[in-house]
Amino acid sequence: MSFQKVLAIIVVSLRLVTLGNAERHLRLEEVQEDSYPFITEILAPDAVEMAVSEAARLVAVTHKGKNAGQISIFSLDKTGGLTGTEPISLVLPKRGELAKHANYALGVTFHPSLPLLYVWQDVTLPGDADAGTFEHLLIFRIADGKAELVQACGKGSDYSVGHKVGYIAVDRKATRLFFPNLQRKSNDKQLNGIGYFKLGWDGLVLAVAGTAADDFVAQRETEYPVFIAPDKTGGFVPVADDVIIFAGAAGPVSWDLVEARQRFAMYSIYPVARKNRRIAAHPTLPVVYMSFTLCEEANCVHPIYVIRLKHAEGFLTSNFQFTSVYGPLAPPVVLGRRQMVAYGGKGQVHFISIDKKGDFLPEIRRAKVGKTEITALSYSEEFDKLYVAVEKDE
């Protein structure tokens, strides 16, 4: 045996008996997988975001670029497969005084049981234009291959415009719709907020709650701009009836909608001030996943950090676990039945394995999908299908 080998054995032996700190950063190891039969590719050029409705058997995809003003809505059969019929091409209506300016969809989500699609839209305006009449929330009823606008609200000076990112979410009981991009001036200082609309039994925004003044009643105490940075926060996960978790500046934030004393609690994680903060909840376990990137570009050379954090009825609890993966900028998607957390990447989808408790396992799989950056993807627990928007039929 050579001296080097003997020395290597000694070093390993020493390592084994040395009780130091556990490795906090979980390193992922590549696992090869031949096929991913649960992936359903959807042809949707310039896709940005996606929502799926199991109840209405629909998938909605938003677009950027020349298609930014429209949403594509695909029909699913009873197994969750694409029906193959032509998608509905929903062109966002141009209404009111700002009709000549370009409007575009920021966030989409479905009602959990009704065939309603909620769209949070924004508008590009010249600096001196008044956005006060622009309606940010549009609600469409999808039936018989058509999308009918049934409500438009959320207008006034309390809403900021011209954003790149804006997620919306409906809570489990479909009583609230959470939205981003509120603003208020206080002592000439710009304060950013989030809010919610109360929804009625029919899924529409209750009239009183639909006024701009009432939006702020719900979140007046969010006047802390560190919590909510426009274009950087990444969504809401309504994990409990009265407590939701949203992506804050330095980690997830729990928002208690009832108990004012503990209304906001931010779990601040080092390293801070990351961009592209995105969050997702496990569909059945009390676990959330949040990712942070160092840069906003798709070709970012730095890894994104992904943390796993438990919650108890919406309140963040225990210590966190973290790992990292290169490339993706899209929000995490949790495949509960498959025990995976998925991220879109360039021409591929990354799958980080999780165990039965939702903890990360040191495994990563990569499925080749299309050739461009995958940002729009969504999973159906009921159908066990991961829908992925791709540029071309490949």
């Binding site: 700190n21 906090r24 919590f227 503990q262 009390p286 609890t317």
Partner: protein, 215 residues
């Protein structure tokens, strides 16, 4: 060749001595799963770290003992690293203080008696998978939630930085006498406020150093 042999002998000697004569290892907050900050004015939060204008953040671990707010830090280091049949010769708990209020407060450390876990907060010692209350809110039940006798007191002094406490007796109790290791509750014994590095934001600053030797 002679040189190689000498190096090997030296390494083997070091290895053998460390195994035979006992060892010291360090655990930090990064090794802990059970860890929390509970506060009387945030009855359901597991992480009521620093109270600000809009709520709580964990970028600083702030302990308060005021009329309106009483805070406690809970931490349980896993001791399953220690091999069987050893004798604990010393154990030291360290923390890093970054600020205190007008009066230099005294930090009290006690063993926690009740089993606690996910969802721990001022009202409950766990809320998942089911809710279990502390015998008194804030784990203040003496002899039921926390030990009758304090493990020790740390008087914060003029100089900020790391403070340590001898916790050998507690670690020995958990390791050798089979008492369940539910960690410690850290509070301010005197009125005031003190701030420490936070385990989520500045991890690795709450430390437990343990030395053991063959029994």
């Amino acid at each position: 060749m002679k040189q190689h042999r000498l190096i090997l002998i030296l390494v083997f000697t070091l290895l053998a001595s460390s195994v035979l004569s006992g060892r010291t290892f360090e655990l930090t907050d990064e090794n802990c799963v059970r860890i929390a900050v509970i506060a009387s004015d945030a009855p359901r939060l597991s992480w009521a770290g620093l109270h600000g204008r809009s709520g709580y953040t964990t970028n600083v671990l702030a302990l308060y003992n005021t009329d309106s707010r009483k805070t406690a830090f809970l931490i349980a280091f896993p001791l399953d690293h220690i091999p069987d049949d050893k004798r604990i010769t010393s154990a030291t708990l360290s923390m890093y203080c970054v600020l205190w209020g007008q009066d230099k407060p005294r930090v009290e450390v006690r063993r926690i008696i009740g089993d606690w876990g996910d969802g721990v907060c001022h009202l409950y010692r766990r809320t998942h998978p089911e809710k279990v209350k502390w015998t008194k809110p804030g784990a203040t039940g003496i002899g039921t939630d926390r030990a009758r006798r304090a493990t020790g007191l740390v008087q914060l002094s003029e100089e900020l930085g790391e403070f340590s406490l001898n916790v050998t007796e507690d670690v020995e109790l958990w390791y050798w006498r089979g008492v369940p290791n539910n960690g410690w509750i850290v509070t301010l014994e005197t009125k005031g406020e003190a701030r420490f590095y936070s385990p989520t934001h500045e991890p690795g600053t709450w430390k437990l150093d343990v030395t053991y030797e063959p029994r």
